[in-house]
Amino acid sequence: MQPAIKSLKSLAVTLGALLLTSSLVQAATEIEFWTNQTQSDRMKIIETLASTFEALNNDIKIKVVPVDENEMATQMAAAAAAGSLPNVIEAGSELLLAFGEEGIVDIESNGKMLQKIGKKRFFSGALNMLQAPNGKDFYGVPMHGWIQGIWYRKDWFAERGLAAPDTWENIEKAARELTDKSKNQYGILIGTKPEGYTEQVFTHFALSNGARQFNAKGELTFNSPQMLETLKYYQTLAQFNPPGPQTWRARDYYLQGKMGMFFYSTYIMDDLALAEVAKGSLTSEHFEGLSGADFDADLVKNTGFVPVITNKTAASYGVLQGLAALKSTPAETTATEKFVEYLYDPYAYITFLHMAPGGMNPMLADIPDHPNYLKDPKGIFKTYGTDAIKTIINGFENIQTFTVVDGKAFPESGQIFAKQIIPRMVYSVVFEGVSPEQAIARAEMEMQDLIGR
C-alpha cells in the first residue's frame, strides 16, 4: 500500500513539474498592435492575418486593438501615462514623427525592419516622410497611403458648362454656381471642424499657393502672404459648405445628390463602388414602397476626380500610414519585428491593401506588378480600370505635405499636426469672427511655443 501511494505521489510530482516546465516553454510572447482600421470588416481581415501569423509562430500572440485615427494621439498619451504602450502601431506619418520626437519609438528596430524588407523597394517620397531629422534613422516603416483630391459631379459641371475644378478660380466659380441653399443644395465640402480633415484640405490649398510651414533651413515661415491668401480663399469657399462646422462625414450629402464637389481621399472609390452594389439590392423589387430613394444609378460614372490643384503652383497632397515599433522588452521587439516582416510578405501585404482598394495604396514599388494585386475581391480595380489605379499609385513618388521640404522631414510639423493648430485657426476664422490676419499670427505664435524656437 505504502509504496504504491509513494509512487503515485512521485508520479504526480513529476507530472506537475512536466506540466509546469512545458507551460514555461510554451509561454508565448504577447505583442499589442494598434491599428487605425476600426471598421469591423477590416478588423476581421487584420485578425485573420494575425491568427495566420500565430499559426506560423506559435510562441507569439498578437493582440489587435482598433483605435480611431482622430483618437490615436489621445490614446497614446493616455497609454504612455499609464505605462501600457503597445508594441507596434499603425498611424499617419505626422503622428509617427511626433511620437518619434517624444522618444517612444524604437528607431533601431525600425531600421532593422526596413533593411530586412528592402529599403530600395519603397517609394522614396514615402520614406522621406518618416525620416528622422538626423537623416539616417526612421520613425516608422511606410505601410500604405492615399491621395486627396476633389471628387465632383461631372454631369452637373457639363450641364452648366463649368470647367473641371483644378484651379482656385474654377473651384470657386463652380462652388458658387452649384450652391442653392433654399433648395438644400451645396457647392462644395471643405473641412471646417477643428480636426484632421480640415488640416488636410487646407494644406492642399496652401501647397498649391506655394505656402509652407518651414523653409529649407528649418525656420518657421507659417505667417506668410501666401498662407494668408490661402486662408482668405478658404473662408470664401466655406460659404458654399453645408451649414455649420463640417467634416468628412458630410460626404454622405454627395451620395444623396445634395452636393456638387467634395474633398476626399481615394478611399471613396470603395464607398462609391459599394453604393453601386447597395443600389443593386435596394430596389422597390426587394422593398415594397421604396420610391424616390436617393441612390443614383450612375453616380460612379458621373463622378470625376481631380488630384492636382493649381494656383501659383501645382500640388497634390496625400497621407502616409506607417508601422512603428515602440520601445519594448527584447523578446517583444523580436516578436514585433517578425510580425511586421510577415505583414510585408506579398500575400499578407496584398490581403491587407485589399481591405480598401484605391484607399490603401502600396508603398513597395514592386507590388502593383504582382499578379494578385489588381484582383481585389470586390472587383473595384476592374470598375475603375488598371490605368486609373496606376496613376494614383505613381502619385506617391512626389507626394507633398508640410512635413517634408526638399526631401528633408521636419518632425515639428508632426507636433503641429497633432495639436490641431491649423484646423483651430480655420474654425476661428469661419465661425468665431476672428480676422484671417489675427488668426494666422496667433497660429504661428502657438506653433512657435510648441516647437520652442
Binding site: 494621439a73 501615462a81 471642424k193 451649414p243 455649420g244 450629402y253 495639436k419
Partner: protein, 288 residues
C-alpha cells in the same frame, strides 16, 4: 477595566474603519494628491517630468480660452441646474395630482434618465442635422420660422443651448423623483389649515409646499451642481465644441501633444472651484 473595554472598542472601531479608509485613500486622496503634484511639472509622454514651479498656473491665468471655458461652465451650470430643478418640480407637482393611469405616466417620465447616453445623443444629432434633420425641415420648410438652414449643434453660440436643453431633458427625472417622494409625505392637514387661513393655491404653494421641499430642493441643486461641474460625456458626445471645464481639461491633457502638467493645474482649479461652491452652498444656503 472600563478603560480596557474603551480601548478595545476604539481599536475595533479603527479596524472596522480601515477598509473604507484604505479605499478612500487609494481611490480618492491619492489621485487628488498626485494630480496636485503633477500640476507643478512639465510632463513628457515617456514619463519624464521637469519641475516648473507655478508656471502652469501662471500660464493658465493668462490663457484666454480658460476664461472662456469658465464662462461656458457657468452658463451651463446655471442653465441646467435651474432647468432641471424647475422642470422636475413642475412635473412632480403635476403628477402628484390624482388622474387615471398616473403610475404609467410617472414611469414614462423617467425614460430619458434611463436611456443610454450614446444612443440618445445620436438621435439628437440626427434631429438637428443641418441637411437631413427634421428640426431644420420643420423650421425652414414647414413653418418658415427660419429663412435658412442652421447647424444648431455645430455653431458654438447655439450649441451651448442645445447642450443645456439636452441635459435638462435627460436629467430632470431625477429631480422629479426626489421631489415627488417628498411631496407625497407632506400631510394633507397643512394644506387644509392654510386654506382655512385664506391662502389661495399659489399661497399654499409658497407657504406650505416650498418650505417643506426646502431640503429636497437643496439636495437636488447641490447634487446637480456637483455632477454638472464634472459632467463630461453628455457634452463631449453631443457637442464637442462646447468647452466646459472638464472638456477643456481633456483637450489639454489628451489631445495632440499632451500638456498634462497644465491640464492637472486646470483640474486643481476646478477642484477648488467645486469645493468653494459646495462650501458656499452648505454654509449660506442650507445653513447646515
Amino acid at each position: 477595566m472600563s478603560d480596557r473595554i474603551v480601548a478595545q472598542e476604539s481599536r475595533l472601531g479603527y479596524r472596522l474603519l480601515a477598509p473604507a479608509f484604505l479605499v478612500i485613500v487609494l481611490l480618492i486622496l491619492y489621485p487628488i494628491m498626485f494630480n496636485l503634484y503633477l500640476s507643478f511639472f512639465d510632463v513628457q509622454l515617456d514619463g519624464n517630468k521637469t519641475w516648473v514651479g507655478v508656471s502652469n498656473y501662471l500660464k493658465l491665468l493668462s490663457d484666454q480660452t480658460f476664461y472662456h471655458s469658465l464662462g461656458t461652465t457657468l452658463i451651463y451650470l446655471a442653465g441646467t441646474v435651474v432647468g432641471t430643478t424647475v422642470l422636475g418640480l413642475a412635473v412632480a407637482l403635476l403628477l402628484n395630482e390624482e388622474f387615471p393611469l398616473r403610475n404609467l405616466v410617472r414611469g414614462l417620465v423617467l425614460l430619458p434618465y434611463f436611456a443610454p447616453v450614446i444612443s440618445v445623443v445620436f438621435g439628437w444629432q440626427f434631429i438637428f442635422d443641418p441637411v437631413n434633420g427634421i428640426y431644420n425641415h420643420v423650421m425652414v420648410e414647414e413653418l418658415g420660422l427660419m429663412s435658412e438652414r442652421q447647424n444648431v449643434i455645430g455653431e458654438p453660440d447655439s450649441a451651448i443651448w442645445v447642450v443645456i436643453v439636452f441635459d435638462v431633458w435627460k436629467h430632470f427625472p431625477i429631480a422629479f423623483l426626489l421631489i415627488l417622494a417628498k411631496l407625497q409625505s407632506i400631510p394633507k392637514d397643512q394644506y387644509e389649515a392654510a386654506a382655512i387661513d385664506g391662502y389661495s393655491a399659489w399661497g399654499r404653494f409658497i407657504h406650505v409646499t416650498l418650505p417643506e421641499l426646502r431640503f429636497v430642493l437643496g439636495t437636488v441643486i447641490l447634487l446637480r451642481l456637483i455632477w454638472n461641474l464634472n459632467r463630461f460625456e453628455d457634452v463631449y458626445l453631443l457637442a464637442p465644441n462646447v468647452e466646459t471645464l472638464p472638456i477643456y481639461i481633456y483637450y489639454r491633457a489628451f489631445t495632440g501633444v499632451i500638456d498634462q502638467g497644465f491640464a492637472a493645474a486646470v483640474a486643481v482649479v476646478q477642484l477648488v472651484f467645486l469645493a468653494g461652491l459646495i462650501w458656499l452652498y452648505v454654509r449660506k444656503v442650507l445653513k447646515w
